[in-house]
């Protein structure tokens, strides 16, 4: 008897202390009761309710679940997600409310003043047990072979709230698996119909591909016809699915979540700086998940950032290579390779050199390379596929001044020459969110499917000019309180950029896009290194324009340089991670660390400084980028004055102070007047705007840099997008299951 009592006591403690997985926990915008109860009178827009007898203050319009969260009590849940609409269909969140005859679904029930909510009564316990029992009727017992095992909400909650035995003896129902393409694996029998995935696809991703068909026990989740999930954010449904119905296809059967080491870092596949968590086992990256950061990516991560990691294992450079006289590369040790660099540099004047930074370069390596080149008397520094002559004196000129979060406050948004859906998919989801809240959106540029409707205003510069003449949309922009303009990276690399920027500025000026407390002028970038390069002044000096043809070119992870940047006879040093385009052209190849293998500083397009962390060791004999440059500097006899990570980061902060403030956005000063004046002068010199329409700078979303180009998963995505049919993506032996079957067939 005594022991039984003890057991029940400990059980209820477990219930109260239960920690739900963080993805389920909503933001807690409310103060806990302990804090608020000290305040004298409740604020106007707050109401008081009682949760398990203790009073809490919550904002009007909150739900019962939010009240419980504010009181620090976790309510079990499956279908509720703070970033999605409320469905109220899983019934797991039942609580007792005084004077209500039945338990109520707390996620869907608005809290009323003086409500008395109870979460620890027998009724609640029994209700939860009942819901669990119903859910488990048709849920298969395949946890041992389920990839969600160990991080499954259903598993956890049935442990805590379920009954300890089953009364079910019938057959379980089974459901056909759906093929959603190369990224998301489905085992639909496991689905508990929470509809989180459906709500995500329709609300956040903006594609109407997923839905529920059938009724009752015949209901199924799927793409109504055999169709691909065509979204750049599709991978997020894997995180959202509380059970193992949707899991990662490329990583199927490769890990158990408790074997993984978590490293909190950031993504560099686009310029957004999405916060991620890299899960690794040993020397291998097993998966990449988004981290919650309301200011940057909320909870989402693009498919490229999530699934390109298999490219980190392909085509890697792991030893220094030097091209011999016969044109073949020979593996060398570091001293010999650096000696070869020094030899290549011999007798070359400073103005005959050039350095090109790649899309994935971190700020440390760029500042080191800049210092080294300057020491050697070279000022010819460019970023690949970029706009070397962009004016970087004024910071507000090249960042998203409104900030990523700030764009939510805009009431009219004008997109110019951009396709945010592929340039920054997570940012596009934000724009979609503002559209859902009633923001008007206009686009100048080719028509794309942006996942939300917009007013199409024309394709090229002429449409911009027409707008300036006064159009409906221009009027809207003028009348808006918080108008925003978003310029794509495609515009900045056009030859007639200055003229177009001049026009845009006229528009910004006339429409009052920049106001006292609102700066609606945004530039979108497509490469993770770009803003840091501009911040550091990794740009050609004034004299570089008149420099002779370079005889020595240093490629810092640059694979997308343009042919004319490297003359035929130039001596080329390639420092990078992959044998992509730059490496074969080089005379000396220096293997460097990829973004998951080093600590590196990146600045996203709103100007936020963030750092990556090393999750896995470097491959082979490669080294951190800035250290390689430091070593080169010593071998060529011009040692840089810093040789520790702290040292180089201090140098960064000296060159651009905000690079020392990690995780912060420094809002730039808007130098309106001077800026426009400078532009007017330059534009007068520049030619007429070409009439060719604007275009996005990204041709293929899934392959933008050396890592994604080496990734097989990304290649499969492209293949399946071409046909729009999911089956085309599977080639034999592609994934765990198939591979095993294939091997068996071969034997």
């Amino acid at each position: 008897m005594l022991s039984k009592l003890a057991r029940t006591a400990s059980r209820s403690r477990v219930q109260q202390n239960l920690l739900l997985p963080s993805i389920l926990l909503p933001q807690q915008p409310f103060q806990s009761s302990a804090v608020t109860s000290q305040q004298a009178a409740p604020a106007e827009d707050h109401i008081e309710v009682k949760v398990n007898g203790s009073p809490v203050q919550i904002p009007k319009g909150s739900t019962v679940m939010q009240a419980c969260d504010a009181a620090g009590i976790d309510i079990p849940r499956f279908c509720y997600h703070p970033k999605l609409s409320i469905a109220g269909n899983c019934r797991m969140c039942l609580v007792e409310v005084e004077k209500s005859p039945k338990p109520v679904a707390s996620c869907a029930m608005p809290a009323a003043p003086n409500m008395n909510i109870k979460t620890d009564t027998d009724l609640v316990k029994k209700a939860r047990e009942g819901v669990m029992e119903f859910l488990l009727i048709n849920h298969p017992l395949d946890c041992p072979i389920c990839d969600q095992g160990g991080e499954c909400d259903l598993q956890e909650q049935s442990m805590h709230f379920g009954s300890d035995r089953s009364r079910f003896t019938e057959m379980k129902r089974s459901v056909h698996d759906k093929n959603l393409g190369p990224l998301v694996k489905t085992v639909m029998t496991r689905c508990i119909h929470c509809t989180r995935c459906v709500r995500f696809a329709t609300e956040v991703a903006g594609v109407q591909d997923l839905g529920m068909v059938g009724r009752g026990k015949d209901s199924e989740i799927g793409t109504y016809i055999d169709k691909l999930l065509t979204s750049e954010l599709s991978g997020n449904v894997i995180d959202l699915c509380p059970v193992g119905a949707l899991t990662s296809k490329p990583a199927a059967f490769t890990y158990r979540n408790w074997e993984l080491k978590n490293t909190e870092t950031i993504d560099v596949s686009d310029a957004q700086g999405t916060n991620t968590r890299v899960d690794s086992r040993g020397v291998e990256v097993m998966r990449i998940l988004p981290r919650l950061n309301e200011d940057v990516n909320e909870e989402w991560l693009s498919d490229k950032g999530r699934f390109q990691y298999d490219g980190l294992k392909q085509q890697r450079l792991n030893v220094p290579l030097v091209k011999g006289p016969d044109g073949a590369f020979a593996p060398k040790r570091w001293p010999e390779a650096l000696e070869a660099v020094a030899q290549g540099l011999q007798g070359i004047a400073g103005n005959e050199m050039r350095a090109i930074a790649g899309k994935l370069s971190d700020a440390e390596s760029m500042v080191a390379l800049k210092d080294l080149m300057n020491k050697l008397g070279c000022g010819n520094l460019t970023s690949e596929g970029g706009f070397p002559d962009l004016d970087a004196d004024v910071r507000s000129n090249y960042v998203a001044n409104t900030t990523i979060r700030g764009i939510e406050g805009a009431d009219v948004i004008l997109l110019i020459g951009t396709n945010p859906r592929i340039e920054a998919p997570v940012y596009n989801a934000r724009i979609r969110k503002t559209w859902l809240e009633g923001t008007q959106i206009g686009l100048v540029g080719p028509e794309y499917d942006l996942t939300y409707p917009y007013t199409h205003l024309g394709e090229g510069p002429d449409a911009l000019a027409a707008m300036l003449g006064g159009s409906d949309f221009f009027q809207k922009l003028q009348e808006a309180q918080h108008p925003a303009v978003v310029l794509g990276p495609g515009i900045l690399s056009r030859p007639d950029r200055d003229t177009i920027l001049q026009q845009v500025h006229e528009l910004v000026e006339k429409a009052g896009v920049v106001k006292e407390d609102w700066n609606g002028y945004n530039i979108l970038h497509d490469a993770a290194s770009r803003v840091a390069a501009l911040d550091l002044g990794f740009l050609p000096s004034a004299r570089a324009q008149s420099a002779p043809k370079p005889k020595f070119v240093y490629l810092l992870g640059s694979d997308d340089y343009s042919e004319e940047d490297i003359p035929e006879d130039a001596f080329v040093v390639y420092q990078g991670t992959h044998g992509d385009r730059g490496a074969p052209r080089a005379n000396v190849i220096l293997p460097a660390a990829a973004y998951v293998e080093k600590e590196g500083t990146f600045v996203n397009f709103e100007g936020r400084t963030q750092r990556t962390k090393a999750a896995v060791p470097m491959v082979g004999d490669s080294r951190e980028d800035w250290r390689i440059i430091r070593a080169v500097s010593e071998v060529v006899g011009r040692p840089l004055p810093y040789d520790t990570t702290d040292g180089v980061q201090k140098r960064l902060a000296d060159v651009a102070p905000h690079l020392g403030k990690v995780d912060a956005v420094e809002s730039p000063i808007w130098l309106n007047g001077e800026y426009n004046k400078a532009f007017a002068e330059r534009a007068a010199k520049a030619a007429e705007a070409f009439q060719q329409p604007f275009s996005s700078s990204i041709k293929e979303f899934f392959m933008t840099d050396a890592i994604s180009r080496s990734s097989q998963v990304m290649a499969r995505c492209i293949q399946s997008r071409k046909t729009g049919h999911p089956k085309s993506a599977t080639h034999p032996g592609a994934f765990g299951q198939d591979a095993a079957a294939h091997a068996a067939a071969d034997m």
Binding site: S280, P335, A614, P617, R627, A631
Partner: protein, 146 residues
């Protein structure tokens, strides 16, 4: 071999020789050398017994062991020398009792000294900075992952 050793010792002017005014002045100068000889006496047996002759000759092995001794040539504190000799003798005993296995000997006395010699050859005057040294050896900046 001995001549080469003496020559290299003479060139660097240090090593098995310690300052006379030191505490254990009388005892130390020969201690390291004596131990080295003790080791040398066991080398032919070792090569034979561990079947190392496919990889290395006795002469080469001796020079490898010598390189390892030379690595500590800067140590002058007699106490430290004593401890090192003590540990060395422990090692010797493990080899002679065959508590070590073939692959241990290969990594420690064949592969590692060769690497050491190569480094020495590429950086004869020790002219490199600490940074470059650790850069080449891969010690610096290795990620802390795993």
């Amino acid at each position: 071999m001995v001549r080469a050793t003496l020559l290299s010792l003479a060139r660097s002017g240090q090593g098995l020789y310690t300052q006379p005014e030191q505490h254990f002045a009388k005892a130390t100068p020969n201690k390291g050398r004596d131990f080295f000889r003790e080791v040398c006496r066991l080398l032919p047996w070792t090569v034979n017994n561990y079947k190392l002759n496919e990889l290395i000759t006795v002469k080469e092995l001796r020079s490898n062991v010598h390189a390892l001794f030379r690595q500590n040539s800067h140590v002058t504190n007699p106490g430290v020398i004593d401890v090192m000799i003590y540990k060395g003798r422990e090692e010797l005993e493990m080899v002679s009792l065959q508590h070590k296995q073939r692959h241990h000997l290969i990594t420690e006395y064949v592969a590692r000294p060769q690497e050491l010699k190569r480094q020495l050859a590429s950086n004869p005057q020790g002219s490199r900075s600490k940074f470059l040294e650790s850069f080449y050896s891969g010690a610096a900046g290795m990620s802390q992952g795993v």
